[in-house]
Assembly symmetry: C2
Homo-oligomer: 400 residues x 2
């Protein structure tokens, strides 16, 4: 159920997908909402990202986000920027919103222009205005309209009681291929839109988002690639009726928000292109958190490791090799490695285990890998998926 004062919807706009598939979503607040954003750190940024960055320089409260899928509107120069502005302004006009009150986002193929028909497009948006609302059908349509190679809908909802009142947080995401965090600030190649009726001012909301992303979206890798379009936008419209949150109330909100971003991030890893398994990698007892995260991310992006997981092969040698090629100093004679339910490596040596048990454990849909360095007390988790034949099939033929 959407937080109070929000409407969402999705339509077949013809902008970026063919064959009557939903390709345009609108997430809209009744009143101007505090807004927090994180964008791709890729040097090459798509037009919608550039437009959002410009708009955030002059305003910090927005009424909503319009997002399309199928065309990334990236590497499209000045025309791409004009197209993004046009779409925002048509929506602003038809919905009777102030100008510059919408942000936008795109996902899809790079280097193509949006297919804008200046006759037909405003009519589509009028239809959207009539149909938009808070019904479950509209939520599903909005999420479908941002999906590309995703195989399932990614939606997470939280409801918390704060100071006697109810606050809702609602989030959706699209992910699939080309997902990897960029170590400079946020990065996970995905779109995520998070709506809440909490009353939180901008700078606090931005801090909450950045800290939360660092434990969730920033800890997901599908294939180490990053996109030109990654965007997370949070709108907090304060319509819950609870009013400004106390310190304690804020802490309850942040916990729920962190759970929501982690669940979204995990669902993105679970739905990596061609994925057959969800993999959680935990590096334990490192000297520093940074060390733990660097090793976890290096394991998570090792194609050899990911192919071994696809093959249900408890190949701890690939875990060691990946960890070893980071610059992190560790003592192999203290390391333990668990793959699935199997303790494979201890104090620098291979342990004997039944290959049958290992195959059985690694044939599960969710695999947990633990590398315990035993030289400190800091830990970090990273989420990824296996590398399958389908990853190659999907990505060998993406544009066509």
């Amino acid at each position: 159920m959407l937080p109070k004062g929000f409407k969402v919807g999705g339509i077949c706009s013809g902008l970026s997908k063919k064959k009557r598939k939903k390709d345009l979503a609108l997430f809209i607040s009744d009143v101007p909402a505090s807004t927090a954003c994180i964008f791709t750190q890729n040097t090459v940024k798509a037009a919608p990202v550039l437009l959002d960055i410009e708009r955030l320089k002059v305003g910090n409260k927005f009424l909503g986000v319009i997002a399309n899928s199928g065309c990334a509107n990236a590497c499209t120069g000045v025309k791409g920027l004009e197209d993004a502005e046009y779409i925002c302004s048509v929506c602003e006009n038809i919905f009777g919103l102030d100008s510059l009150s919408l942000l936008c986002a795109s996902t899809g193929v790079i280097g193509q222009y949006l297919n804008i028909s200046k006759d037909a497009f405003p009519e589509k948006i009028k239809l959207l205005r009539y149909s938009i609302g808070a019904s479950l059908k509209n939520e599903e349509e909005a999420i479908l309209a941002i999906m590309t190679t995703d195989t399932f809908i990614k939606k997470v909802e939280k409801e918390v009681i704060v100071e006697g009142g109810k606050i809702r947080i609602w989030g959706c995401a699209k992910g699939a291929g080309m997902i990897h965090p960029n170590l400079h600030g946020f990065h996970a190649t995905m779109l995520s839109f998070i709506l809440t009726d909490a009353d939180i001012e901008n700078t606090t909301l931005q801090e909450i988002l950045e800290e939360s992303a660092d434990k969730s979206f920033n800890c997901v890798s599908i294939d180490g690639d990053t996109s030109t379009n990654d965007t997370v936008i949070v709108l907090a419209n304060g319509q819950s009726g609870v009013g400004k949150l106390s310190k304690e109330g804020l802490s309850i909100f942040v916990n729920a928000f962190d759970e929501l971003t982690l669940d979204l991030a995990k669902s993105v890893a679970e739905d990596g292109e061609g994925a057959t398994k969800f993999i959680e990698i935990e590096v334990k007892n490192a000297k520093t958190k940074k060390d733990a995260k660097l090793i976890a991310s290096t394991i998570a992006t090792s194609p050899l490791f990911k192919a071994a997981m696809f093959g249900s092969d408890a190949n701890w040698g690939r875990v060691i090799a990946a960890a070893g090629r980071t610059e992190v100093d560790f003592d192999i004679s203290k390391v333990s490695i668990y793959i699935g339910d199997i303790h494979t490596f201890k104090d620098g040596f291979a342990l004997k285990f039944s290959e049958g048990d290992a195959k059985k454990s690694l044939s599960k849909k969710e695999i947990k890998v633990i590398m315990d360095l035993n030289i400190g007390s800091e830990s970090s988790k990273y989420y990824t998926c296996d590398f399958s034949y389908d990853y190659i099939r999907i990505n060998g033929d993406y544009r066509s």
Copy 2:
């Protein structure tokens, strides 16, 4: 043909491969040879690498290298080191060589011990001593004995006339999966042994090797993973009869040596696990060589790009996205991208091209990709292969 004063051979020693497959190679010089080496920068180093590093601390002339395949002798602790020493000492004894005069190398599965039978092993080495020689059959046997998932023999020979005399350089390599340079000094996950009858002293030879590797072995990536065992060893025994090289002679030698290492490195890329295509990536007109190399290597390790090459898809968006996620600053409005024979992108915009022509061009066995940044004058090349179904098949089931 081997350089003067070298013998090579390979046998089925039973040390590390089953089913009577060749698994032990010996490369040996009649006289102590100047020796240059580069090893993996992986934190976790295999026993033979650790042993070589120790031996290089006390000596700089060696008589040869003994190398086994099928078992990496990595993560094997003190016993692994003792095993490596044992193998060297048996060979030294039976061949009547000084102790500590051999180096060693291993490649194969991590975490297993060499299968040493102290009765049978010396007998095998005696057989090797009787059969070893400079015949072509022995060369082939030696190279077969260092191969793992390689699908073809990698051997390069050069002959140059220097100061009226003939100098030979002979090199072999094994590669396949888990190949990626480590940016700290040398790294390509492979074994390569280079023999020459040139007369070059140690420090010069080491410099030649390091500079050469930086343009060859260090510019190859199969999957971004690195191993615990990477080793390149060069032996220069001075038996050509030409004597000490003049400055000019040395320059002729270095040119031939560079050609040899580049050819070996390219053949390693060509034979990446499951590879169907060899891909050369050139980044042109960058501000610095470092920038050019970083972008080229990032493209070469992008699974999305490599899957697109497998699918013969001229997907320049993946080239842009990979380049963009480096920290290198470039101006997209100046960039040109060529994939195969197709100019796909110019001055920030997609060019129209025939998808039929693109498919045809990218269906070739060798693909050249050029990204021209047009903001400087430095260039760098990188070599890789595509990501195919077979990569997943091979690596999903490596240990078994």
